[in-house]
Symmetry: C2
Subunit: 590 residues, 2 copies
Amino acid sequence: MDKLKKIIIQTEKNNSFLEQTFKKLKLFIHPTFIQNNTVQACSFTQTPQKLNSNSTAVNQYFKNTIQQNKNQVLQGNTKSTLIKGKKIAVLFSGGPAAGGHNVLVGIKLALGENNTLYGIKNGPKGFLNGELFEITSQKLTHILNLGGFDFLGSDRTKIKTPEQFNKVKKIVLQYQLDGLIIIGGDDSNTNAAILAEYLFDLKCAVIGVPKTIDGDLQVNHLLPITFGFDTATKIYAELTGNILQDTPSSHKYWHFIKVMGRSASHVALEVALQTKPPITLISEEIAQKKMSLNDIITYILKIILKRYFKGLHHGLVLVPEGLIEFIPEFQILIQELNNTLAQQEKELAQINLFSEKKELIISKINEKSAKLFSSLPQNIQEKLLLNRDSHGNLQVSQIDTEQLLIEMLKRKIQSLKNDPQKLLYALNINANQDDIEKIHKFKFATNHHFFGYEGRCGAPSTFDAAYTVNLGLTAGSLALEHHTGYLASITNLDQNSQIIAIPLSGLITLEKRSGKNEMVIQKALVDLKSPAFEFFSERRSHWAETDCFSSPGPRQYFGPTANQLPFTVALNQGYSNTQFDLGIETDISL
Amino acid sequence: MDKLKKIIIQTEKNNSFLEQTFKKLKLFIHPTFIQNNTVQACSFTQTPQKLNSNSTAVNQYFKNTIQQNKNQVLQGNTKSTLIKGKKIAVLFSGGPAAGGHNVLVGIKLALGENNTLYGIKNGPKGFLNGELFEITSQKLTHILNLGGFDFLGSDRTKIKTPEQFNKVKKIVLQYQLDGLIIIGGDDSNTNAAILAEYLFDLKCAVIGVPKTIDGDLQVNHLLPITFGFDTATKIYAELTGNILQDTPSSHKYWHFIKVMGRSASHVALEVALQTKPPITLISEEIAQKKMSLNDIITYILKIILKRYFKGLHHGLVLVPEGLIEFIPEFQILIQELNNTLAQQEKELAQINLFSEKKELIISKINEKSAKLFSSLPQNIQEKLLLNRDSHGNLQVSQIDTEQLLIEMLKRKIQSLKNDPQKLLYALNINANQDDIEKIHKFKFATNHHFFGYEGRCGAPSTFDAAYTVNLGLTAGSLALEHHTGYLASITNLDQNSQIIAIPLSGLITLEKRSGKNEMVIQKALVDLKSPAFEFFSERRSHWAETDCFSSPGPRQYFGPTANQLPFTVALNQGYSNTQFDLGIETDISL
C-alpha cells in the first residue's frame, strides 16, 4: 500500500492529526499539585468561609456530612504525605461535555500508582449494575484531551429509591470503595450530596465534579463555571460568527439560530458577547419583563424593519433553547395542557383526528390559553400536545422555537404589507412615504439552525482541557483525604487561581417540584444584574442598528489566541482580561 | 470604562482575537512572485500542453480567443519588467467561499502601486449597474485572511442577453478597463469565457478564478481543486467528528447529516475520509448502480441492524445534498412532475386542497412514478410539488433528504417489528433466535442536521488562505500581461507547485439544458474510478462494522497540524503526503 493511504488509515479510531497531537500536548497543572517536579495529590485545610443553609430540613437531612464539614469551604495546599491503598471509583452522569476524559486523567494523576482507580461504565445505571473496571494509566494515554464521554459512557438515572441505595451499598462494600467521584450537573451533584450522607457510615467519600455545557451550575466566586461550557460556546460562536459573516455577503437572509441550553440562557449570552449579532433573546429577561409571544415578535420585527430602512436586508436572531418555558403565557398554557392531557387521557386515547383532539383540549383550558394555542402553527400545536416525557411534562427541546418565531413573524409581515401605515404606527416606527413604499418590496427570506450536539463532544478547548485535569486532581485529592460531600472547584481563573472544595450540603435548598418538596441545587439562571448581562444590554442596540459582528473563528490550541476564558465568566468574576492562568505547562507521564 | 469591557468592545466589527491575529499573519507566497525580496506579478510562457475542444461549434464561438491562446496551458515565471497604468476590475459571482478576500489581496499585490484595481459591488448585477470603486491597499488590511464575500458582495446574475453585453461594453469603455477578473464556479467561469470572447476587440482581458465549496470545478492535474472546498469540508468534518464522538457517549442515536454540495458528492466524500462514519452515501455511485430509494433504505438498514446485533446502538449517515436528483426513479419522477406542473398550471391554480392537487398530478404521471410519489411522506410530496424556481425546476436544496431517509427507515423498521424473520431474510441477514428476540427491543432514535451556511463564510483554512492569495497573484499577473480567457490555477500543491493558467475555451463543451444546446464547463462529479473513491470504497465496510471514526477537530492556524490539504485532493493527485507547500511565509506590506 502506498504511503499516503497508510497515513490516512493511521488516522482511524480517534487518531486524526489533531488527536495525535493532543495525546502529546503538555497540560497546565496548578502549582498546588506540583512537588519535586512531579504531579501529585494535594491536601486540604478549612477556610473561614462557610455556606449556610437556611433550611433546617436540609441541615437535618445532611446531619452527618454537616457535622463533619461544618459547611466550610476547603482550600488545597501542596503537601507531601503519601496516601496508599485507597480505592476510588468514578462515573459520568448526564449529557457529555468536553473535558470529561481529562477529569479521569487528573484523578489518576492524584491517585498515582499507590491507589486504585475504578471506572464505572454507563453512568449511575452502570454503577447499580456493578459495571466497574480498573483504569490503568496506559488506557488513559488514548483519551488525553479528547472529547466525548465514550471511555466510560454515561446515563441519566437518578439514584433515589431504597432498592437503588441498597445496591449502591452492596457495590461499595464489594469493591471496598474509599471514594466515589460523580462527574455531572446540578441534579447529579444533588445526588452526590445525598449519596455522601448515605455512605457516611461506610466511610466512602463522595465527591462531585461540576460539568454541564449549559453553565447553569455556578456559585458566585466559588464556582465561576462548569467544564464543557467554554468548548460548547466556542463551537457555537464559531458557527454563529461564520453565518453572521455570510449575511452581508449574500445580503438577503435572516438566520434564526437556536443554541442548546435546556433552561438558562448562559450559552446564548456568551455566544452573543463573542459574535455581536443584531438580535439575541435572553429567556430570563423575557420572563422578568413578562413579555408575551407577540411582544417578542414585535421586538424582533422592529429591528428587522429599522435595518431594512437602512439598507441592511440581513440579520441574525439568537434564540436560547429554553425560551418557551420562560414566556409567562406559555408557562400557563403548558401547565394547563399538562393537566388537561392527564385528566382527559382516556377520552383523548379514543380520538384519532388531531383536529378533534385539539377541539376537546381547547374546550378544557382557559380562554387566554385557548386563544394563544389556537394562534400557533399546527406543527407547534401538535408538538405541544404530543411530546410528553414519562412524567407527563412537555419536552421543550422538541419544540422548534426558532421556526415558531419565523412563522409568527411571517404572519405579522403579511399583515404589515396589507396595511403598512397602521402597522408601522403600531410598531412605533417613524416612517416616511418612501419607507412605506419600501414595505411593499420587503422580502423576508429566512434560514433556521439548531446548534446542539455539535458542541457537547468536541475536543476540549485549552481552557476546558486545563480546567478539567485540575478538577480531576482536586476531586482525586479530596477523595484520598476522605473529605466527603464536596464539589471540586477552582477560583480566580485569570491569575492566582486557587484549588478549593465547596460543601455540597451548603448548596442544597428545598424546591417544590411536581407538588413535592425536593432537595435540589438550584439552577443558576442568567442574573439580569450581572456584569455580563448589563454589558450585553448596553451594547445590543448598537449591534442591532449597524453590523458590529465579529467571527471568533475555530478554537486554537497554539498561537497567541489559544488561552481564552468565556467573556461572561471574565465579566462576572471581575477579571481584568480574558486569558486564563491555571498553572504550569507540564509533561504528563501517564 | 474598565479595561475588560474595552477589550471586548475592541473585538466588534470583525476584530475578534483571531481576526486581529489574521490581519498580522504572514502569507505563503509562491517563489514565482518573489523578486528582490518583494512580492510582484509574474510573466507567463506557453507550455506544450494543449486542451482540445471536440466541438467545432465551440471552436467557432471562441474564434478570437482560441486564435490568440491556441488553447495552450501557460506557466508562470519570475520576471522583472514593470507594467504600469493598467486598470483591472474584479467581482465575486455566486455563493461565498472562504478565501475570496485573499484573492483580492493577491490581485492587489500583483498590480502594485502602478496600476489601478477596481472592486465591483454586488457581483455581475453590480457590474451591469456600474458599481465600481477603487480598492486601496489600506482597505484590504481590514479583510486579510477573513471569511465572507462582504467586502464586495456577490450575486448570481448570468450575463447573456444582448442588452447585458452592451451594458458591459459601456462600463468597460467608461472605466477603460484592461482586465476583468471573475471569481466564481463553473457557470461563472463559462460566463468569463464568453465575456473574454466578447470583449476581445476592446482589449479587455477576462480572467477566471476557480471558486466553489462544492469542489465540482476540477481539471485533472491542471486544477486539483477550487478555493473554499478545503475550509468548508474542514468545518463540516469538525462538526461531523464531534457528533461521531457523541454517538458512543450517549449510545442511543443515529444521526443523519446532510452536507452542502448542490450536485456532486465531493464534500460528502472528503468529510467521510476525514471522519470515517459508519455510512456515507455517494450520489454518483447510487446513480451508476441505478439504486432505488428502497435499495438505499435497505443498504442503510442492513448496517444499522448488523451494528445493533453487535451492541452498537448508535451511528451516523452522511448524505450529500444533491442525492435525490441522482436516484434514477426520482430523476424520472421530478422530470414528470416538472412537465405536469407546467402543463396543468391553470387547473392546479384553481385547486386549493393539497389532496386534490395531488390526485390530479398522480393521474397525469406514469404508474411507477405515481407509486413512488404516493409512497413518500406528505411534507416531501408538498415540497416536490411546490418548490419550483423561476425556470420551473425543482429546488433540490429545499428537500429535506436526511428527514426523508429517516421517515422511510422508520416505516421499514415498523414492518420489521411486525415480521422480523421475513424482513431479516429479505435483508439477507443471518440472524439467530436471540437476534430475532432483540428486534422487538430495537429502538431507532434519530437526529438530523444540515451543514451548509456554516461552511461558506468561515475564516479560510491555512490552505485556502495561501491558495487564494497566490490565485489572486496569478489572475492579476495574467490580466496585466493581457492573457485573456484564462483560468488561474496552481498544480502540484504538495511540492514543487507551479503557477499555471488554463484556457477556458478548452474546458467548454456543448450540453443540452432544458432542450437547448448550451456552452458549459461540465461539472466535475465524483469519479468512481478515482483513487479517493476507491480508497473510501475499500475502507467503508470496516467503518460500518466497528467504530473507526476520528474527530479531526477545529482547523488550526498554528502548530504541527496547520498546513493540511484535503484528503481527496492528495489521493486523487497522487501526492505522498497531506501537507501543502505553496511557497515562503512572507510579511505582506499592504
